[in-house]
Amino acid sequence: MSTSTASPATHDPVPSEGAWRTVVRGISLSPELRVGLPVTILLALLATAGRAIVPIAVQMTIDDGLQGGVGVDVQTVLSIVAFASVAVLLTAVCSGAMNYRLAAVVETALSSLRVRAFRHIHDLSMLHQASQQRGGLVSRVTSDIDEVSRFMQWAGLNLITAVGQLTIATVVMFVYSWRLTLIVLAVFVPFVIGARWFQKRLTRAYLIVRERIGRLLGVVAETVVGAPVVKAYGIEPRTQDRLDHAIGEHRRAAVRAGGLSSIFSATGEVFGAVATAAAVVGGVMLGVDDQVTPGMVLAFLFLIALFIEPVLVAAEVINEGQNAVAGWRRVLDVLDVEPDVEDPGDDGVELPDEPIGIRFDHVSFRYPKPGESAREASGPIVLDDVDVAIEPRTKVAVVGETGSGKTTFAKLLTRLMDPVDGRVLLAGTPVDQVRFDSLRARVVMVPQDGALFDGTIGDNVRMGRPDASDHDLQLAFLELGLSDWLEELPQHLDTRTGERGGSLSAGERQLVALARAYVANPDLLVLDEATSAVDPATELRLQRALAGLTSGRTTVTIAHRLSTAETADEVLVFDGGRLVQRGAHDDLVAQGGVYGRLHTSWTRGVGRDG
């Protein structure tokens, strides 16, 4: 039975930690982000200082150049302007250097985070991978990280310059007149308080937008993938209703978030005007007491503009940043998941170099409920106290109905999952003590659908043994009796398999998967027999290749066909998670029971009795 499709992450639209904590955690996990940070910040401050140059030049020109003496002192103005121009150019260079450093650092750090998350996802158990939607996993190493990267460069830049600009504007204001500065700052206190309130509501609004876009994508995907059904059943109107609904829901949520952020920006403008008015009034009142000069008050008006801008920008960065922080959090959360099936690595042992026998020592398995770790799983029991030994070099067929536990048996055998109780031993060694490289080299599983990657047939087979030459591969096909099939293909080993092997038929994909297992030359082979019907000619080829592949190896086959069970040395019959029968086919038929029932069902369908 497949587990629930909903991932825990989608159940939880409320952030579990604050944005700030996520950022701190993220930075500590990507030390590359701190490379050269002091220099970058220094450059940013210098670049930002450039923004104060023009207001200062205006003030100096008016105070010294125009009013300072009698009439206009052109020489002074010239030197002010020349000096300021050089400063503007220098700060522009600083600004460019800072932008570039930021881009390089962020992209480098995130590329390595991307690769790390990718690797980590592969290290997670099947169990965990299965509990997540594929698209969700992919988005963690793609769009989530893209979002963080885009945000960090846009926001990182803006935040650094905003903070710098704010600092410099404040410092310059203080230098001019601390009294006037305090007046301006006082005006902004209620604004900062209001901003926090806005931010909370915006966070929620953006979360809803993200959820709705996910739902919208789901409905569109359904429409596209299900197009044959939609057309054949003429349900276009109903489908369009569903689409329109999802589209409308997303639009409403987006407009709401946009509206909130618009109101916020407008509020900022009002505070800017109040601050300007306060500076004029305060300036005049102080000026009368000779505390400030007219030039200073005028410079203040410019400085207030310089002050408001970063405040608004910073607020917007924080608002819009909710999206990126959520993406970052998803990536970090995946990295936080401890792989519950862990490679013992150097502490582990190698499988002894001998034919592999299997022992299940009172093994039980349950699936974890959402939120539980695999070890404390308390879901319904899937495998119940299975105790069985299989001699090396035997061919075993595992049979049972859907949900009987036969697939779980195979997953525990290959250590795609660990049991909740009991031990699995291969060649006398507990499987959780075996190093992965040894385990994967000696134990190979062939999944139900050939599971091919886009590339050539040669590429796909070579995954079984990366150093195999073309000649080795051809030999493998020959030994499996498949060279006639390979020769029929337009480009033989170089024939492209297409996306997920889509250029080949289901049976042909299986042939490639068998060849892949053959070149890997394992001692224990676990086969999950394909259920989908293939035409009988391909079926025959499959049978022949299987015979070649399994010869001389311990083989465990999850059998969906009678013929497989018939030819096995031994059949294990599962029912409701328990091993209920074992023995040779004929003996089991004579016994009746669960196997008898399965046998009757098989023979009736294939039509051999009639």
Binding site: M1, V54, A57, V72, V88, L89, G96, N99, A104, E107, V115, V141, Q153, L217, V220, T223, V224, V225, G226, A227, P228, Y233, G234, I235, Q240, G258, G259, S261, I263, E269, G272, A273, A277, A278, V284, G287, V297, D437, V444, M445, P447, F453, D454, G455, T456, P466, Q491, T495, E499, G502, S505, A533, V534, E539, S563, E566, V589, R604, V606, D609
Partner: protein, 654 residues
């Protein structure tokens, strides 16, 4: 003026026409903002000359004048805030209205266009058309009101500057052409860099998708490290391209910011002369400097708008390619209703599946060889996007790459010339090897495609003459790949038809689905999850079958629709269908001998043609290749029996 700008302006035109009211709000707000901004600078000039300087000189405050000044400043600020609100709100409203509108149009087009068109386009491409492409086409709506407001600001400011001092204004505006040139240069370089980066991004996503999709293989072959290395290569490629984009921006941004500042300084310098010459008051000079800061803003906004244009054009091109597609099926008005099963006939029908098109979206760059993993052992890579079109038709899909393979596929898939008739109420089995054209015939019978040549009739009428709804109501097909919607079991069976529960249940019983459905947590009201993920393949197939049966179609086509169902259940289903009072002619694509034997007659297809026709027994005798095909299982078993008999004396089964 190059093509990009012209096409960009066309997208802007489309946007303006698509959401006139929000844009009116946005542009109105932006205009208000512009006017208020200019007013604010005038006010500051006035405050300087009339309030500040006099009071400084006088050495005493004038409360009335100060209050007035403060009120005017705040009043102008309020107007400005209203402008900001209108501008931003209008931009958001416009953007989301356009997105929603074009998403509806694109998806309506998906529903309208024939399956033939769908086959040519990978799922991932269609998904991104409706999502990312629509989005990027109308991102341009966001800076649009601001840009239009900014042009008003620019005109107002320019006017004021010219009125105040034409000579000084001329000096200041010399910066304009420089900005435009810098922008043009940037756009050219950026477009290429961004396109290349976007492609690299798609590659990363493809490799990730493929690798996670094949997680089982990766794990069981111990290829985690090899996969990580493959991913690292492609991720670092993206990183380098993104750094290149960053470098361009790093160069451009400071230039755009420094140019207006230099202009202001120039104005200050020349302005000082003008003040000395008495042509200008100090207040005017302050106003001038302030106004120039304002001019820098529209310049930046235009840069912003121009920066969005390449993306908007690419997005819009992709969206309009879908919207401009024609060729939807034309339906007639003839009724398809009648008593009992329908007779159907194919006459010299030929059909070739269209070759898939790789979305040629990346502009100049799409033809360059895409990142391939050449090194042996580094593994193959993804070629297309997410959900494959593969297997929608039991193996009639094609590879995207390698023309020779496609050629061969073309010859193998599809049908050459098929003629046969099915009398009303009969059950016919379509049998043939993979690629013989069974699924193609099945799809043609229900008019998912129109044949390239030849005719298909339903009760003597051409399928194309039949009314759309009548056809859908009287003809049903069940595919091997059972597609379920993210909905309840019941809704997946009724698909929105208002049917009595008893009918739904009866159909489910006939499909051998009632038993397991009632064991589900909420029975018929259990949600099945995305694509029916909570159910097994056989269960999904049986629900899809019930969906067809509940409509009581006059023609029922089962395209290997029970492949994942246990053989015994399969024959129960077919036997049940035969015994039921369904008014159906049934055409069943099957492999298993037990199912074939239940048909009244067999049509045997080989290489896209009817090779033989007759009862199962007849064909077994008369047609050696048919006998070869359907008895392969038995011969295999017999061979193994013989081998086993040779190895030991233990006999095996009948």
């Amino acid at each position: 003026m190059h093509g990009l700008l012209r096409r960009g302006l066309r997208v802007i035109g489309v946007a303006l026409r698509g959401a006139p009211r929000p844009f009116a709000v946005g542009v109105g707000g932006a205009a208000l903002f512009a006017v208020a901004t200019v007013a604010a600078s005038l006010v500051l000039g006035w405050v300087t000359d009339e309030v500040l300087l006099p009071q400084f000189e006088a050495g005493e405050t004038d409360a009335a004048a100060l209050t007035l000044a403060a009120l005017v400043i705040i009043g102008v600020g309020l107007v400005k805030a209203t402008g900001v609100l209108g501008r931003r709100l209008g931009a958001y409203l416009a953007q989301f209205q356009l997105q929603a509108m074009y998403r509806q149009r694109v998806t309506r087009q998906y529903l309208r266009l024939p399956l033939r068109w769908h086959r040519r386009h990978p799922t991932g491409e269609l998904l991104s058309n409706a999502n990312a492409d629509v989005e990027s086409a109308f991102f341009v709506a966001a800076p649009l009101p601001m840009a239009m407001g900014a042009s008003i600001l620019l005109v107002l400011t320019a006017g004021l500057l010219v009125v105040t001092d034409p000579a000084l204004a001329a000096i200041g505006f010399s910066v304009g052409p420089l900005l435009i040139f810098a922008n043009w240069f940037y756009q050219r370089r950026m477009r290429y860099a961004a396109t290349v980066a976007q492609q690299a991004r798609a590659d990363v996503s493809e490799v990730a998708h493929e690798s996670f999709d094949g997680a089982l293989v990766v794990k069981t072959m111990g290829r985690e490290q090899a996969e990580a290395e493959r991913f690292r290569g492609i991720s670092e490629d993206l990183r380098d391209k993104m750094i290149r984009v960053g470098r361009l921006r790093a160069f451009f941004d400071p230039v755009i910011e420094a140019l207006p500042n230099i202009a202001i300084l120039l104005v200050l310098f020349v302005g000082a002369y003008r003040v000395r010459a008495g042509a200008l008051t100090p207040g005017d000079l302050v106003l001038f400097a302030y106004l120039f800061r304002l001019v820098a803003l529209p310049m930046r906004v235009f840069g912003w708008l121009l920066g969005e244009l390449p993306r908007a054009v690419v997005g819009w091109d992709r969206v309009s390619r879908v919207l401009d597609e024609t060729g939807e099926m034309v339906y007639g008005r003839a009724p398809a209703e009648g008593e009992g099963g329908a007779a159907t006939q194919l006459d010299e029908v030929r059909f070739r599946h269209p070759a898939p098109e790789r979305g040629d979206l990346a502009g100049p760059d799409a033809t360059t060889p895409r990142h391939r993993t050449a090194a042996a052992g580094s593994g193959p890579r993804a070629g297309g996007s997410a959900v494959a079109t593969a297997d929608r038709d039991g193996g009639s899909s094609h590879g995207h790459d390698g023309p020779p393979a496609d050629e061969t596929d073309q010859q193998r898939r599809g049908i050459e010339s098929v003629s046969f008739d099915v009398p009303a109420g009969r059950t016919i089995a379509l049998v043939g090897a993979t690629g013989s054209g069974k699924s193609t015939v099945a799809s043609l019978l229900v008019r998912l495609f129109d044949p390239d040549h030849g005719s298909i009739t339903f009760d003597g009428r051409e399928l194309s003459e039949l009314d759309r709804d009548q056809l859908a109501a009287n003809v049903a097909i069940v595919f091997q790949e059972a597609f379920l919607f993210d909905d309840t079991v019941r809704d997946n069976i009724t698909l929105g038809l208002d049917l009595p529960d008893a009918d739904v249940e009866a159909a489910a019983r006939l499909a051998q689905a009632h038993g397991f459905i009632t064991e589900l947590e909420h029975g018929y009201d259990t949600p099945v999850g995305e694509r029916g993920a909570t159910l097994s393949g056989g269960q999904r197939q049986r629900i899809a079958l019930a969906r067809a049966i509940v409509r009581k179609p006059r023609l029922l086509v089962l395209d290997d629709a029970t492949s994942a169902v246990d053989p015994s259940v399969e024959s129960d289903i077919l036997r049940g269908l035969a015994d039921s009072d369904l008014p159906s002619t049934v055409i069943v694509v099957a492999y298993r001998k037990g199912s074939i034997a239940l048909a009244d007659e067999v049509v045997f297809l080989r290489e896209g043609q009817v090779a033989a026709r007759g009862s199962h027994e007849q064909l077994l005798e008369e047609e050696p290749s048919y006998a070869d095909l359907v008895t392969a299982y038995e011969r295999d078993a017999a061979e193994r029996d013989a081998m086993a008999a040779g190895q030991d004396t233990r006999g095996i089964g009948p």
